[in-house]
Amino acid sequence: MRRTIHEINERIKEGNARVVTAEEMPQVVAELGEEGALAEVDVVTTGTFGAMCSSGCFFNFGHAEPPIRMEKVWLNDVEAYAGIAAVDAYLGATEKSTTREENYGGAHVIEDLVSGKSVELRAISRGTDCYPRRTLTTEILLENCNQAIMVNPRNGYQRYNAAVNSGDRVLHTYMGMLLPSRGNVTYSGAGVLNPLANDPHLRVIGPGVPCFLGGAEGMVVGEGTQASPATGFGTLMVTGDLKRMDPDYLRAATMTGYGVTLYVGLGVPIPVLDIETVRSTAVRDEDIWVDVVDYSVPSRNRPSLGQVTYAMLRSGRVEVGGEEVRASPLSSFRRARMVAGELKEWIESGRMTLALPTRPLDPDRRVEPMKETVEGPRVLQIMERRVATIGEDAPIRDAAAKLLKGETNHLPVVNGDGVLVGIVTTYDISKAVVNPGKGNDVRDIMRRKVVTTTPEEPVDVAIRKLEKYNISALPVVDKAMRVVGILTAMDLGKLIGGRWLK
């Protein structure tokens, strides 16, 4: 048996369409079998509600008198991109306020406008013959904009890898707070309810398909940026009229230490055309696997510490490397259910009919990393190779002498095999002189927890360590932890003027 989109729309218009949510569908299929479910269900509704950074809105503010060609635009001190026509601008959700930093951003402006609040619009221009005005400051309301069209380049990730931190310090990431020593796992995504998880081969989701966006009727534009459906990480670009949206489904948020983002409610109705659609919408949380990725590695290729399903994540505890770790989401499953539920009502009541993609999306698309043509500087290019070290059983006096002779403040401590075991600084030695009694040897006063770098590490990663640990030098070690150099704040001066290039 098959059914056409036309037949489904006829049933919707008659008010007879049988609609279930993607969470209910697996049960329907389990009870009725695939053929039975196909005969019974016309539409499966999906929903997701979570942080979607790649979101934003096009505005047309209307012309002022005298008119201005807005070259730079701020909404409540959040800059919008104005490099388009005179009174058009695009406000990105993650743009930070110039005055309130991460506590307020593009997402907050969007939420304020949708909530009916007035927002300050400020614009500047150099002035032209046709647009003489140079500055503008006014209050605007959403209803007074000619258009406010939400266009989100990347929403509705099919699934998302869970996050863990096996380092020794708290990390603040876009995946929330990650406690050290694998203290917690965070994850995002609606799993069973996710739109693309219910149509992984992109048979019915594509350009022109209606959707629920932020509480209003929207539309799928097409493939989202960074889409990788071939690897199970599809994304969608979606659009909708901001003026009709609802703050229940559009919420500004701040990931502390990371930045501003927008929580978006998105749902796509799936027409049940054939057995294939029944099978794809029968997907359960148990069937959707993700990696648990270690965010303590500051690289594009973060290692995976294992795989889990959304069902395991949803249980609140998962096993990572043989240990049970508490897991919690960043996206709201409760609101994802509300999205799928509202969409169900819209279709049952005949408010929304369905459409098939005007052209199919490519299910074989795969995301590729950047091909960099110019490599950034690495530690070995600016590190100091002449580094004085000291043995752990040397007297403190010797360490002081070495520091003086080397005109340095940091002395890596090595054992008999030349392996790094600690570090002493001029500060540690001064302290030992003022408060004697801990012992007379370097090992008695050295710090054993040493933050290190490697010759191959990008300088930006090393600088982040200096900042984060509030220190001024990093011993450079090889794979055997032997000291091959030292990177101090002074060496960073070599970056200025590009001297490292030589």
């Binding site: 509600f49 979570g50 942080a51 603040h172 929330g176 707070m177 406690l179 917690n184 796992v185 965070t186 919420r251 948020a253 701040t254 990931m255 502390t256 983002t261 929580y263 609140g316 508490r326 897991a327 919690s328 989401p329 960043l330 996206s331 709201s332 499953f333 409760r334 609101r335 259910r337």
Partner: protein, 130 residues
């Protein structure tokens, strides 16, 4: 039952909590403490029935004592039930009910402040600091 004990400069050097344990025989669990040279604050957990006697003895020894109840406030209009607070809380104050609505057991809170800091929707605050 949780008590917030504040020490001022005068008593700063005396082992007040140890003294209270010895005098009352109540086993005090120190859940969080911040002691500096001339002042300090400790959050202690004690059996409910011993509250009176511990509180009185602490006060006699010069410490200020406050009983902690519902110290964390959840603004339900801001909360979207995302759950970001659940796994970062050392006391497991937060959980989901069957409908994935956020539940809070504020009695377990030791005021570490982590959830207030990280709540993406700024829906959590400490009582009296709205």
């Amino acid at each position: 039952m949780k008590l917030l004990v504040t020490f001022s400069s005068k008593e700063g050097k005396r082992p007040i909590i140890a003294q209270v344990v010895r005098d009352t025989g109540v086993l005090v669990n120190v859940e969080r403490a911040m002691i500096e040279s001339n002042e300090g604050e400790a959050l202690i957990d004690i059996p409910e029935e011993s509250c009176r006697i511990v509180k009185d003895r602490l006060t006699e020894l010069g410490a200020a004592v406050r009983i902690l109840e519902d110290e964390i406030l959840l603004d339900e209009t801001e909360c979207v039930d995302c759950g970001a607070c659940i796994s970062i809380c050392p006391q497991e104050v937060f959980s989901f009910d069957r409908e994935f609505k956020l539940q809070m057991d504020a009695k377990r809170c030791v005021l570490c402040g982590r959830c207030i800091e990280i709540c993406p929707h700024r829906a959590l605050s400490r009582k009296g600091e709205l």
